[in-house]
Subunit: 529 residues, 2 copies
Amino acid sequence: MASGLATAHHNACSSAGDGHLSLRRMRIDTYHENVAYMHRDCEVYRTEGFKALSKVEVRTNGRSIMATLNVVDNGEFLTCNELGLSNAAFEQLGVPAGQLVTISQADPPQSIQALHRKLAGERLEMRDFQGIISDIAAHRYSKIEMTAFVVATHRDELDREEVYYLTQAMIEAGRRLDWKEHVVVDKHCIGGIPGNRTSMLVVPIVAAYGMVFPKTSSRAITSPSGTADTMEVLAKVELSFEQMTRIVREHHGCLTWGGTAQLSPADDVLISVERPLSLDSPAQMVASILSKKVSAGSTHLVLDIPIGPTAKVRSMPEAQRLRRLFEYVAGRLKLSLDIVITDGRQPIGNGIGPLLEARDVMRVLENDPTAPMDLRQKSLRLAGRLIEFSPDVRGGDGYAIARDILDSGRALAKMKDIIRAQGAHPFDPNQLSLGALTIDVIADRAGVVCGIDNLQLAHIARFAGAPKVPSAGVNLFKKLGDEVQAGDVLYRVHANYPSDLQFARQACDKANGYTLGQASDVPHAFVEF
Amino acid sequence: MASGLATAHHNACSSAGDGHLSLRRMRIDTYHENVAYMHRDCEVYRTEGFKALSKVEVRTNGRSIMATLNVVDNGEFLTCNELGLSNAAFEQLGVPAGQLVTISQADPPQSIQALHRKLAGERLEMRDFQGIISDIAAHRYSKIEMTAFVVATHRDELDREEVYYLTQAMIEAGRRLDWKEHVVVDKHCIGGIPGNRTSMLVVPIVAAYGMVFPKTSSRAITSPSGTADTMEVLAKVELSFEQMTRIVREHHGCLTWGGTAQLSPADDVLISVERPLSLDSPAQMVASILSKKVSAGSTHLVLDIPIGPTAKVRSMPEAQRLRRLFEYVAGRLKLSLDIVITDGRQPIGNGIGPLLEARDVMRVLENDPTAPMDLRQKSLRLAGRLIEFSPDVRGGDGYAIARDILDSGRALAKMKDIIRAQGAHPFDPNQLSLGALTIDVIADRAGVVCGIDNLQLAHIARFAGAPKVPSAGVNLFKKLGDEVQAGDVLYRVHANYPSDLQFARQACDKANGYTLGQASDVPHAFVEF
């Protein structure tokens, strides 16, 4: 059969020649990278002198995309009159299979000259960043070119005005929401602390107070759960922009996934090279976070920078440098910004993983006596700072207002409204179906918990299956300063699959993430809260 | 039919489960990048939590390779019991199709920690470079990671001792030839000058003098012809190492392609990211060139650094900085190095493109009165410097010895021996079948040629089809300092295909690469030759 097919294709080939190829969806998932597939015997391939990994431009009816070329020697995949596209590329081109397309060597994106100037150590202007970022947002950069940009701008390569240019260019490259409100609030944490689901408490508190709070969150990238993953335990989070707008109009707040909004699209593209390199420089962090917030229409932002020995930011001088950069760029963007530097010495809350974190959140909202106090306190303080953005609230009064809203049950009622509006999922915090395979990690001696490694606990929860398996994760029984006896359970790992459990066990055996010592060994946190 | 196939594959799926997959050659050419293809319904895919673009390790019988994962939704390409590999990956794994393989998430290469330290601006040690380079040579780095390494080490990021570490690590990552001779000579040009086929004259002259000169060359990457492309007009250049050794033993010299020798393999991998970025920093140039030469067993090297307004190196201070870096690293490697800074203001010889360059070379060897004098002079001077590596030759006497060898016909006889030994191709310099489609580029006024743009002439020759079409290229009729009248032909472009001719014409129309002015406008070259 194979050879029969090959012959048929060969006959088909000889009749081609006008340079047009028939579009084919290859149904190959290459993630964010556009790949075009062409048969080696394709006449266009031979005459145009393409090579594998050439960058090509695919055009039809005034639409065009850039892609990397892969060359196919197999007539069963593709005839020589066809041009195949990977999933992402096919969707971007946005025309039906079978349509005729043309293909040509892609000119290098115009902004490559500016990239070369940055590689040579020069300072770039606003228009340079606009060119680079609009080319990146339009998928005109290869992974190699994007990596070069990210590395060439990562450490102290950008001055603070260049960081502003980069941020502004990222905003301009996407759509920008306008809520037609004077004050649209948001909060954001720079990340790195497991648990820490404050947004799911701050949104209902502040929305119950009456401020407009259209919160969109990301899913986990390298962490055991993102706010969108945990919220998804309780409600649908993938909503259309129109659905989200309607919910915010009615309830003042929402807790949805922000992935589809085309806000700062260059950021989503760049992350495909930043993530594998674990690059997260101050300049890129500032540009990424502030471009997303301004694009989403926020006017007032509280930003949480946790510091601790295993947090992203490890010293106060580092936190202060980062704060000044955020404040400078926010000022240029006319975004009101209040930065709080918080205690990042350990996870916030008891649970790590979607289901466990959702339980922590609901227990705080329900004023359950078993609710984690650290999560409650931090959320109240963050909510208080947001409430103080109101012109009629005195500095210092926000916390008490937030506490009244939480203690009175109004925050819980607001959360239930939001869950219902987004589409509730069944959930009972007292009847949790956690992963049935468990490991109890035990104290090997008596002492005081004087260190919990955020990174290691996050790794263990991910090995256990979080966030892909929502019922997997880590349940902490002891926190910093707690006294333990030999044999006490420090934490329990939950998994659903034996292989996940085994990976998690290997990670625990290597380093369980807890340090036991004396009360005086607990590191101090010189922060506001 | 398609749905029948899909069903069959679906049935096949349910019987899997031991984690083994059957290897399939996808026959997709992804150039240097290893790609593995897996069906989305594959049980291993689902249980292991892979994602598109995950780095995976494919193992069988103690062999293993790293690859980037693409996810296939199309049962016609791949069943869910199969693992597909791109051409390069399949060859690297080196086992037959159908063999059972296992696949797992790839651990990050061990040396990634060192990469992160360099990204953070730290100085690396020898062992760090050894780790990085051996991982790169083993294809354990993704394109993103390699780009990060190349950009993080490109400008002044490496001090000269680090450049030595990098070079030494690149040597250790491959095989190293040992010719069992006290003196093994080589020459190299850093490139950028069209024509300039001095190696094809220097090798027969110096080999005729009796020195061991196992010259391997590259094919063109971005230029209109490499020495291997031009030599291939005259003889076979893709020889096994054993064939090459035999020829060098018998004739003292050879002129072969160096691509298959596994000398400094990391260099071949890194070029796949350096080339698309046009990155060619001093550190990378020194490490690349010297690692190849030392791996090839050279003990004595003459290195040609041309300078000129459109050469790679554009000023004498820049050339001197580069010279000092080459000399420092060569010293650490115990390689005897003689650097000559030469006239790079214009192409060397009259022809650009394989056939035209081969004619220039043969005319010089045949002492033909129409031979290009600049090519003859430069080759004699380079050969003279190599001959002066002999302990019994006085400094300054090399040129005259080289000239005697050329004028007496001994160089031509040696070249004929080498051509015959490698496998002669039919060639008559006076009966050239040049590309029949031509463009004559004409002087639009009288004047003196005071500028020839190396880069533009190279582009035009490539657009015309060189080196893929050996008979394509550019034939220069006028060189720097020549007087021309309006209507004189400056150069002739040769192409074989109408589309190539059209691209070349567009390039000529945009900029023909020649500047006409007065005799006093010709730039001076303050170089040895």
